[in-house]
Each structure stands twice: as C-alpha cells, then as structure tokens.
Amino acid sequence: MDIRKVKKLINLMEESNLSEIEIKEGEQAVRISRQTTTFVHSTTAVQDPVPAAEPSVEKAARGKIVTAPMVGTYYQAPSPGSPPFVEVGDRVKVGDVLCIIESMKMMNQIKSTYSGVVEAILVENESSVEFDQPMFTII
C-alpha cells in the first residue's frame, strides 16, 4: 500500500466532505472514515491569490459593462478637439460607436453591444486599456 495513495484518499475525502472511504486493490484494502462534524480546516486549503485589477462587481451587477476587446490607447472622440462619441447620460443603441482604441497605429471603432443609457465612462481619454478592461457601464 502506497502511503501517498492514502494521503490522496484522505485529501479526496476532505475535499468531498465524506465520512468514510473503503478501497480494495486485489488483496489490499483501505477504509478511511472521519467525523465530519469536527472537521475544521483542510490541510490543502486553496488560497486564491489576489488577482490583478478586476471589474468592480458592484457596478457589474447594476449595469451592463462594455469592455475593451483589445489592448491599446483609448480615444473618446474621432479626432482631438472633436466632441466625444458619447457622454454620461447619453442614450445609445446596439452598434453605436462608443470610442476608438488605437492599436499598432490602427484606429478601431468600438461599438456598443447593448442599448441603454451611458451610466459611467470608466477610462480616461488617451489612457491605455487592457483586454477586457471595463470602459462603459450602460443601464
């Protein structure tokens, strides 16, 4: 009987919150049981490391988020000095241009995937955005 296997079994059991495991391999057999009531913490507790900037869950819950489909530089307007494509409070529909993301000197128009009112603009003009970064909240 491999001690390693037994350890794995115990981990399995803990993870699965079982009270008993019995295993036979040919002439070998293992039975493991435990009292679930006294179980406090697992030896293999999985820590979730702090992730990089994540979209705010609260905002996400209250509206729909338009995220950046690519990494690049965010422009609010078609050219410097022009009025922005959209401002907070504007009503937009699916397909309306919301902004431009410049990537490799290419200007990519980003269109709304939702209809509604622009609740918030989450990035600053000419700042860089990363993939999946929230840019607009639309409610």
Binding site: A45, M70, M104, S128
Partner: protein, 438 residues
Amino acid sequence: MQKLLIANRGEIALRVIRTCKEMGIATVAPYARVDKDLLHLRYADETICISEVDYLNRESLITAALVSDCEMVHPGYGFLSEDSMFCRMVEQNDLKFIGPTEDQIASMGNKANARAKLNTLGLQSVPGSCDAVSNLQDALNIAREVGFPVLIKAAFGGGGRGIRVVEDESSCTVAFAEAQSEASSVFGDNTVYIEKFLDNARHIEVQVLGDGHGGAIHLGTRECSIQRRQQKVIEEAPAPNVPQQLLDNLCDLAVSAVRKMKYRNAGTLEFLYQDGEFYFLEMNTRIQVEHAISEMISGVDIVRLQIETAILDRLTLTQADVIFSGCAMECRLNAEDDEYRPCPGVVANINFPAGPGVRVDSHLYNGYRIPHQFDSLIAKLVALDTDRDRTVQKMRRMMDELSIEGVDTNRNNLIQVISSDQFRNGDVHTGFLDQLKR
C-alpha cells in the same frame, strides 16, 4: 531605466523577470485572462491583460509594449519566439527584439533551407535531400539512395512536429502525399524534405550566441536524447560518452557556422550523433527550455547575455571567459498522467528539492490552478555536481524530496529513467524512453 516586455508566460516569463530585476530593467508582463494568477505577474513592474487565452496576437503584444513605453521585447520560447513576422513588426515599431534578425529566423524556420544553408557553412546534415523535395519521383530516388527507413519532414515543422516515418518503398507514395497535405494544413506550407531515419542516434545540441556582426561563442553541448513523442524530457550538459575531441570539434564547427551567418543573439544547433558522426538536424533561433543546464556548467546567465547583446549590439563575453565545470542535468516535470495526457488542476503541498547544486525553475505555488490551455511543463528540476555519477545521484535524491499534490505528474517516470542502469551508464538514444516503456 530600460523597460522590457515579456511576450510569454509560465516559467520562462518568470525566468526572464528574474534576470531583468537583477539587471535593473523594468518589466511589462502581458497575460491572457485565464493566466491572471501566474506567479510572475506578482513580480512584473506592469501587467497588461491582452486576451482571453491567446499569446499569438502580434498586434496585441506590440501594442502592449508601446502603450507601456518598452524598449525591448523578449519572446521566450514557443509562441511567437520563432515568428519572423513578429520580429519584423517589433523592429518596425522601434523596439529591440531579443533574438536573431527577421531574416535569420525565416531562414532557419524553413528546415529544408536550413539543412542546405548549414551544409554550405561546413556542417554535414543527416543524409537525405539537399533541399525541399517537390515530387514523388525525387522522394523515391533520395530514399533509395540513403536507404529506408526515411523520414519525410515538413519544412516548416521542427521541434519534433510534422514528421512521418516511411519504412519501405511500397508505403512511400501514400506517405509522401499525406506528408505534403499534412504540412500544408498544419504549417501552412506543403514543402517537405527527406532525411534518413537514424534509429539508434543520440540528440546532441550546441548552445551558441552571436553578436550579429560575425562574432560568436558557444556554451558547450547538451545531450537531449531522452524524449517522449519527440519532446525532450531529460537533458544533460555536457553530452556524456563522446570523445572530448569530437565535442570540441562540434562546438568549433557550430561557432564557425554562426559566425559566417552573422547570427545574432542566442540559438541552438541540433545534431544527431551516431557511429561517431554528427549530423546537423535543425537550428532553433531562440532560448530553449533546457538552457539552464548550460548555465549551470558555464556559470553564464544566458538571459542576461541575450539582453546585454541586444542592448549593446556586441557580446559581453569571449570564449575564453567561459569556463566549464561539472555535469548538469534537467528533468522536466509535467502535469500529465502515465499516458502523457495533460492533467490540469489545483496544486497543493508543493515540496521542491533544494540544497547544494540544486535549482528548480517553476511558476507553481500552492493553490495555483494549472490551466488546461497551455503546455504541461510545471517545473524544471536541475542538478549540478562535479561529475555525472554524482549529478545522477543528486537528481535521484531530488526526486525523493519532490512532492506535489492535486495533479498527476511524470515524477515516477523520471525516477524510472534515472534509476535504470542504462541511463546511469550514459547509454542513451532517442528511442530510449519508448524502449523503457515497453
């Protein structure tokens, strides 16, 4: 302070960051969203999410470098590291590409062309076609000349991919057509070439570094014959059981060839060795997974040398500066089951070996979830000792110390290999692992 973008992930991204930090170079780590928990993202000066799961989008990577004001891009290995278009685009955007020139990548990327080219530079290739083979009749003629079995290889394959064994003349017709069609569909180009199948050969390679102007050095040889499905599993430096004179000749020939090519930055020339002869196989125009063992025997930080070469446009070491000592060995720990199937999962209770002469390069930490979308390599276990016997003994005790829970690994396979008498005697060849498994 200079800034470098690492166009890669996992252990090699971590490896590059470590050297950058020591050199005082800031780092930018682009990452796919599924990789947001990668260890090196904790140490990078900046991180930029570039995709859901993709590291092959050239525009995204270069844009990430541009918006973060990088001066340099390190491609690592795999992904876009041997993509000449990526190199070109990097340089067109006034970024330094830490690797060879676009033309050198393209030239060596076509394996049929590389054979022909390095032949003219003094390296004999594995017997076979001089260059690409475009029709069946040529294929048959060459195969008859060198003798069956032969390999039909995709010119744009490489690294063990796009290879077809042809046992005899009768199967050649079908195999040739299939190989062309497969090359076309998998590598986007139907060019193939032919090599004699050396069934008892060893895979031995030479680490080189060029300054791009005709200067070059080598960092010795590596023996990489322990392979599963043409993927390396255990490597060691220097290659054992080859007369020193032959190894020295090989290194000299390799350096001579890369000097003539005016090769820039790090590269590896791969050879087959059989019956006392070396045959050129292909050249990899990037840093390799197994670079660590060359670092161990030479004391040279290859990533640092790569970056210095790119920044200064010259080599900061001469051949005389490189003093070799001892024997180094690497075991690749993969998250896979006995059938080499990848085993993603959450790792726990990691215990890596340590102590004198031990190095473990790994991006794992307790609680890390190994994603299923990428390579199964999870740790490089490296041992250095004064001679091969001791190095094998050290690797054996490292395996005893090693434990990881949560995923299956190839630990037991590695132990089986390094414990076998044949391996301990240094009696290895590329069929070793298949024979051991049987």
